[in-house]
């Protein structure tokens, strides 16, 4: 919650610090006083020291209450832990006492008021709650007509280094889910009110202190630094962002200093994390047996002889005479990974200041330790370490009584060292994936030296040649061979001016913002090239004279193994961002009428140093040109007697990506609110039941400019001599490359637009239960979609065909957001609160370019966005004969199905299974329902919080392919292909000739991809819904008596857990990972922390 005592920060506080409006007089008094500051400051009067205590109506002392004497700027303070304050003020000055959730009070200081007790009255139903809206404006909740959800930043505090994982279920209107747990790559995907476009991006605009930043920046944000966290959901709230707000806006502001003595906050946490659920792999002997089965059942000779299997069993058993080098049985997971890892987080902040200068300085340090084991045999440490440092300084300086400047500096720095990886992210999280794609029986991790290698300096890594002659991946060698480090930094400098323009006219203020931030990244690696060995044929166990190794990579050239480290430079990425904003705001009260108006202009530019075309990954001129946006927007509001509110907005935005005549988009909205409980007729008993009742609604247009990755839609993108070419000459000596066309010019492309309507009811029952319910409808049009009808005979080059688009798509969505909270003080020592959020969305595709399907069920139009289509799997084929006599199932590879392969339903009955038999199956792949609920209990110094979160109405498909594409997040679970290991579940339940289970989990085994069994079908369809205990926290705050002796204001010790329990129908892996079973698992975290204020 915002402390609202920034009484001279006029542009903000004139709105936020309004006392509850029925008391119009106090407002007028305040305004008069505020304006008088210039003149009265020079007066000389006798000072008096006032010692005061502030309590609520029940006598409970209030800490942190702001007290200020208008007459003298320097005189401002807040109450301490005991509700006390001391202030030197002139006699006759007016003390303004303000505290969030309470009605402001004014006390005139007389000669007798050396000791005062001020009792603040709680406001009814938090009517003065402040909400941060577009461009960081603070508005009273009462006056907001758009749909804005705010969340107490404290609720986003989870024991993980990623803020995005805390959003789901905490905020009504956010659909969020996390698909993988790789450190550094574990961002949750989140959508405001679900996915509402068919187009390129459904991601919300993320603004931190008004600056557009990425989800990664949001993820790294320290919750302790956050002052407010708002989500703008409807047209009216997001309208000022015009063409950029259609997917919703996330607004975060960071804390600013408060006048008073320096207050220090320190937090330290230590966590232990481990997977919520690990996939279970079959043991090496089962692997061999099933591998042989997979070969023989498809007509090939087995690979492992019974002798191999017996000997491997002996290795597993550790039997006497077993030879783990000739018959390895490696548990790669255990060889490489510890079963848990630890993380340390520390942060501190100092804030304080006086009336002229206020500061908030915060620093933090996070350290994620890798889960990889290290081996003493290396003389360098290849273990993983990821450190994040942040420094933030927000300083407000009052240059003149009417001018405030704000400087915000923020640095975010990541340093990483870890094993070598080719992962784009830089994190060596791919080792997990490699382990799952390494045979447990092919070779041991390393060999003891044989007689020839007694003096070798290098590790004798195990390996064997693949069938094609290539060395295989030895993940242990991958981990040990060297290390990679990267450094990543973003420095942001922001300068703001807030100028009171009362000298022009009352209520007029100006605000300007300049921000630039610079991002840089580089990585490098140092590694040796490992030596690989296999056991020579006929060798005995190590130590015997007959133990001999064969050197497998005895080659020269680039792949020559080395005993020394090589250095290889890596990626370097630099970009800069510039932002300018100017606001002119006007607020004024004329009797019963309150009027406000704003005009905002913004421009921003981003430049990328390493500009490359996303299609070709080649440097590209077009992508090197600055990315620019220009926006004007405005707002006009009017309210009457705090009952009726009306508001109009517009956004007018330009983007350089469109042709000059399609560059600009105008997005107007209108909204209104009615606080029924402020009506005169709302009297009597009903006010005891429904303390507060407000309805509001909005309607309008918002746009979306994130409509594709193509740089300039109106320009062709051509790379002369960048395409396929030809070679001529008797010794093929002359070549030229042809032209590569990446995009044809399309001058008509313009903004995607959204018509949004929103209706909400806010009410407070019994003064304790707050309910906000909103329903909305959205019509998205001008969605840039692929042209579907152009036949290939037109000859559009395939590199350009994906860029052949038009603003033709439409989509609809509707939904419900519900937020409920309740707080009850049971006794003086015991209190409880409950919180619940529900987000329900439903959407459907409207117009889409679709071919003229023969069958109605094939059209995507009218189906939910992300509706999967696939075949209906009936069961497995009984035998080859049945497979041969059933409707043809040919999927383009060389095989026709056999017994034990999946049998699909011939939906259209034409005797062939093809695309015409694909029907909508299951539910959308993004959840339609997200919910979260939790409770807090407090008894004296103890508190207990639990928060449950879940999602429902979501389907996913178990990935039954051999895909292994980290960049796309595709992790297939097909055994054996790409050396994949076998999941125990597949080992336990698959069709085999001995056990012809027609409904087995896995069809007939194979060591190669069987496309028939990998089609998207109901066979792999699973219910994605789950609920989990997202967090559980217990804390203890030390009693004040103890603290006083320690000179500490507050000390809290707490333990908490993230994701400790999950409930789901799906048991093979964490259901939130959806189909990607071999993805890095989502983590559960146990944490202990201490928070100290003094």
């Amino acid at each position: 919650m915002n402390r609202c005592f920034d009484y001279l920060g006029v542009p903000l506080s004139t709105r936020k610090a309004f006392p509850r409006l029925p008391n119009v007089w106090s407002l007028v008094v305040f305004l008069l006083l505020a304006m008088a500051t210039n003149h009265v400051s020079a007066q000389k009067t006798d000072n008096i020291t006032v010692v005061g205590t502030v309590t609520d109506s029940s006598g409970k002392i209030l800490e942190g209450v702001s007290i200020a004497a208008n007459a003298k700027q320097a005189s401002a303070t807040t109450t301490d832990r005991n509700g006390k304050f001391v202030l030197d003020v002139p006699v006759g000055s007016d003390l303004w006492v303000a505290y969030v959730g309470f009605v402001d009070q004014h006390v005139t200081v007389t000669k007798d008021s050396r000791e005062v007790t001020i009792v603040l009255q709680a406001v009814k139903a938090q009517a003065d709650e402040v909400v941060v809206t577009a461009f960081g404006r603070k508005e009273r909740k009462e006056a907001v007509v758009g749909s804005v959800s705010t969340v107490n930043p404290e609720q986003l505090k989870i024991p993980a280094s990623n803020l995005t994982n805390a959003l789901a279920g905490q905020i009504a209107g956010v659909i969020g889910f996390q698909r993988g747990g790789q450190p550094g790559l574990d961002n949750a995907q989140f959508f405001i009110r679900g996915v509402t476009t068919l187009g390129y991006s459904a991601s919300p605009l993320i603004l931190i202190d008004n600056i557009e930043l990425t989800a990664d920046d949001l993820a790294r944000l320290q919750v302790d630094d956050i002052a407010s966290f708002s989500i703008l959901k409807d047209a009216s709230a997001a309208a000022l962002y015009g063409a950029r707000g259609a997917n919703g806006v996330i607004l975060v502001t960071t804390k600013q200093g408060k006048a008073g003595r320096a207050k220090i906050n320190i937090r330290y946490e230590n966590s232990i994390s481990k997977p919520t659920q690990m996939v279970k792999l079959a043991d090496p002997v089962t692997y061999m047996q099933l591998y042989d089965e997979a070969l023989t059942t498809r007509g090939q000779a087995p690979l492992y002889s019974p002798n191999d299997i017996i000997n491997t069993q002996a290795t597993m058993d550790g039997a006497q005479g077993s030879n783990p080098y000739a018959y390895p049985a490696v548990d790669w997971l255990k060889t490489l990974f510890k079963d848990k890892t630890s993380t340390q987080r520390a942060n501190f902040s100092v804030q304080g200041g006086n009336d002229v200068t206020k500061y908030y300085i915060a620093g933090s340090y996070n350290r994620d330790n890798g889960i990889m084991k290290t081996n003493p045999v290396n003389n360098f440490n290849s273990g993983m370490k990821f450190e994040n440092y942040q420094l933030r300084a927000n300083v407000n300086v009052k240059v003149t009584p009417t001018t405030e400047v704000v400087v915000r500096l923020w640095g975010n720095f990541n340093d990483y060292t870890g094993p070598i990886t080719d992962d784009q992210s830089g994190f060596a999280s791919d080792l997990f994936d490699r382990v799952l794609h390494t045979s447990p029986v092919a070779f041991p991790a390393y060999f003891p030296a044989d007689s020839a290698n007694m003096l070798s300096q290098h590790i004798l890594f195990g390996n064997s040649l693949a069938i094609g002659g290539a060395l295989q991946d030895n993940p242990y060698a991958d981990m040990m061979k060297g290390y990679k480090s990267f450094s990543q930094s973003r420095m942001s400098a922001q300068f703001e001016v807030n100028q009171n323009l009362n000298f022009i006219t009352k209520g007029l203020t100006f605000r300007g913002i300049f921000n630039t931030n610079r991002y840089s990244y580089f990585d490098l690696s140092r590694a040796y090239k490992p030596f690989y060995y296999s056991l020579s044929p006929g060798s005995d166990v190590p130590g015997t004279p007959n133990y001999r190794l064969t050197w497998l990579n005895n080659v020269t050239g680039d792949n020559q193994p080395t005993e020394y480290l090589n250095y290889s430079p890596g990626n370097k990425d630099v970009n800069t961002f510039l932002y300018l904003q100017g606001n002119l705001d006007y607020n004024r009260v004329f009797g019963d009428h309150t009027v406000s108006a704003s005009l905002v202009g913004t421009r921003q530019q981003t430049l990328y140093a390493n500009a490359e075309d996303p299609d070709t990954h080649q440097p590209s001129l077009l992508y090197s040109l600055p990315y620019r946006n220009l926006g004007f927007s405005g707002r006009l509001t009017y309210s009457f007697r705090n009952k009726y509110f009306i508001e109009g907005n517009f956004g007018y935005n330009g983007s350089e990506r469109f042709a000059a005549d399609h560059r600009w988009g105008l997005f107007p909205t209108i909204g209104g609110g009615w606080v029924i409980s402020n009506e005169d007729f709302w009297k009597g008993k009903i006010t005891n039941v429904i303390t507060r009742l407000k309805i509001r609604g909005s309607y309008g247009l918002v746009g979306n400019d994130a409509i594709g990755q193509q740089r300039f839609f109106y320009l062709s993108n051509v790379v002369p001599q960048g395409g396929d070419g030809a070679t001529f000459g008797t010794s093929n000596g002359f070549s030229l490359n042809g032209t590569n066309i990446l995009a044809y010019p399309n001058p008509d492309v313009t903004w995607e637009s959204s018509k949004k309507s929103n209706l909400a009811v806010e009410m407070t029952l019994f003064n304790k239960l707050n309910i906000t319910a909103e329903i909305y409808h959205e019509y998205r049009y001008n969605i840039l979609i692929n042209r579907g009808y152009i036949p290939v005979t037109a000859g559009i080059e395939n590199t350009a065909s994906s860029n052949l688009k038009a603003n033709l798509g439409t989509a609809y969505s509707k939904g419900l957001d519900l937020h409920v909270d309740y707080k009850q003080n049971i006794t003086n020592d015991l209190w409880a609160s409950v919180l619940g959020n529900l987000t329900v969305t439903a959407n459907k595709a409207g117009h889409l370019e679709e071919p003229a399907y023969k069958y109605a069920y094939r059209f995507q139009s009218g189906q939910p966005i992300n509706q999967p289509f696939g075949y209906i799997a009936e069961r497995l084929f009984v035998d080859d004969k049945e497979a041969a006599n059933s409707p043809t199932q040919a999927f383009g590879d060389n095989t026709l199905p056999k017994g034990g392969d999946i049998k699909y339903r011939d939906v259209n009955g034409d005797g062939i299974i093809n695309q015409d038999d694909q029907v909508p199956i299951g539910l959308p792949t993004t959840p339609q329902i997200i919910y979260g609920f939790g409770f807090s209990l407090g008894y004296k110094g103890f508190d207990l919080n639990a928060f449950f979160q879940g999602l429902a109405r979501e389907s996913f498909f178990m990935n039954a392919t051999s895909q292994d594409d980290r960049s796309k997040g595709e992790y297939g679970t097909a055994p054996f292909v790409n050396n994949a290991q076998v999941m125990q579940a597949y080992a336990d339940s698959h069709w085999s000739e001995d056990n012809q289970n027609l409904y087995a989990l896995w069809p007939r085994l194979s060591v190669t991809d069987i496309k028939n069994n990998q089609q998207q079908s109901t066979w792999w369809l699973r219910d994605g819904s789950f609920m989990r205990l997202k967090s559980l926290e217990m804390g203890y705050t030390l009693p004040k008596k103890v603290l006083k002796k320690l000179y500490v204001d507050n000390l809290r010790i707490y333990v908490n857990a993230l994701n400790p329990i999950t409930w789901s129908h799906f048991k093979l892996w964490d259901p939130e990972q959806a189909g990607q079973g071999f993805a890095y698992p989502i983590q559960k975290v146990y944490n202990i922390g201490i928070n100290l204020n003094f």
């Binding site: 094609g468 002119l584 320009l715 030809a726 002359f734 010019p745 290939v792 060389n894 093809n914 991809d1009």
Partner: protein, 642 residues
Amino acid sequence: MKLLTKILLSAVAPSLLLASCKKYLDVTPDNVATLESSFSNATEAKAYLFGCYSYLQKMADVRANAGFTTSGEIIFPYPLQDQSVLGGAGGDAAFQILRGTQNSANPILNYWDGYNQGVSGGINLWQAIRKCNTFLENIDRPRDIQPFEKTREIAEAKFLKAYYHYWLIRMYGPIPIADVALPVNATPDQVRIKQQSVDSCFRYVINLLDTAIAGLPTTIQNPAVEAGRATATIALAVKAEALATQASPLFNGNPDYASFVGKDGQPLFSTTYDPAKWQKAADACKAAIDAANTTGAGLYQLRMGGGVIHLSDSTKQLLTLQGAFVDSWNAEQIWTLNPPFGWQYMASPRVTAEAAANVFAVYSNFSVPLAESELFYTNNGVPINEDKKWDYANRYKTQPGDSANLYYIKLNYTSAKGNFNREPRYYADVAFDGSLWFGSGKLDDNNSNYVNAVNGFAAPFDQLRYNATGYWAKKLVPYQSTAGTNSVWQSYSWPFMRLTGLWLLYAECLNEVGGPSGNVYSLVDQVRARAGLKGVVDAWSQYSNNPSKPSSKDGLRQIIHQERRIELAFEGQAGWDLRRWKEMQSVLAGPVQGWNVFNKTVSGFYQVTNVFQPIFGIRNYLYPIQDYDLLTNPNLVQTPYW
């Protein structure tokens, strides 16, 4: 009033500030590359033309050539321990069509959309044609282009455009004609173009070729830089082949396609046989041969490198027969595509200890079916089942190598009787258990390497590196190629058309026009003479149990067809020829057979074994259009029987 002005000023000032930067959004400089940039000068234009050629050069990869993969001349084993050895997963897809995997949902050899070895990766022939069209539309732009250069390049683009259309016609029969590049914002009706009848498709191709021929050079002046670019001779030869294809039974009055009509009912195939088409084809063959002769085409003369220890005349003859194909840019090759043949390790057997030591050097998966090996004549120049002096019945029995076949089969090495006393082209083209292998590091035919497929180097190494029939396409591996730890594969470019093929095509056309004649005989006999065989009439009268076969039109047709299949064996032609002759079904009627290759004893090895039963129905003569294309273009009709 003053106040109001102040308000206005302060409101307007920031807006003005921002409005002044409307230009802020004009970030694109003038010289951004556009399509016009590709025609800004003569060199850029030439590069664009090379882009048009790129599709053609991709066709040199035999994996994408239906004439090679689905000919029944070579099969690819299935299943292998690793089915991705032929250049990645799906590399062997076209070979497996014979196993019945063709389908319309995701067709194999899909040149229409560019998938599954139909070129590759979504690059299809319609794009190639659009490239040619774009080139023709823009070639006026470069200011520095020389007129003769421009004429030539226009002609080349037209030639390519014609050839791409022709390739599609061969695969799909009636196709839409893409004569111009449609604008990107064309209406749906404009882009949904219809198929035209097969005859008008051919007519379009021939007309286009005629205009191209006029502008093409007769010969390449600067072979070091330009060899491989189109010439008038090439275009004439393509025209001859196209006309012969049009005249052939598949396209000429084929009753199977009587009901094949377009969306609005117009017939796409003429149902009446038109003999005049053969005459046109014959004339075109004559023109092509004449043009070739004037530019110095002739039979290949062996060009040997150094290091030969001993080379008998017999071996020399084999090397000459093979060299006509693998010794690139010789006078016999009318049209050669530059990309080198990359699959020698698939065609070669392991004949040396070095090759066997490095198991990754040689894969041998290109397997020649027994029936293909039996296609080659006896040393008397007649089919093995017609030769009165050749023991046809006992051809699967074995015998030791004898002195009569001293330079073909290792002396005293036991091999199948059927391998003895065959025509030189058999020994030049096919390797088998016991056959000598001149080269691979040993240039001495008195002490040659040889193939030991029973229990020697050439026997299956594992379930992956093996030949499924026991016959190798030796023709595809030059003698200089040596497999071992560091294999050296003698590079050669893939020929698309040879003079002897053109002679046989001419003979075929003449026979169809007028039946047997001296002219026909002499054309065929020229080819046979180079192979060391007697003329058709002599050979048949002396040795055949059907001595009058060459005197009838039907008999001579059979002889010419077989001669052509032998002469052009493994050259990627048979798959096309057998289709246009409508003979593919009978060739693939029986099971593909070979020896029992995994048996390591002589008696066990020489058992005729079925590899698989090919599936080739009437519908397989033409290729299915991907179902999806019929959805995006409702004006198309699917290939018959798909």
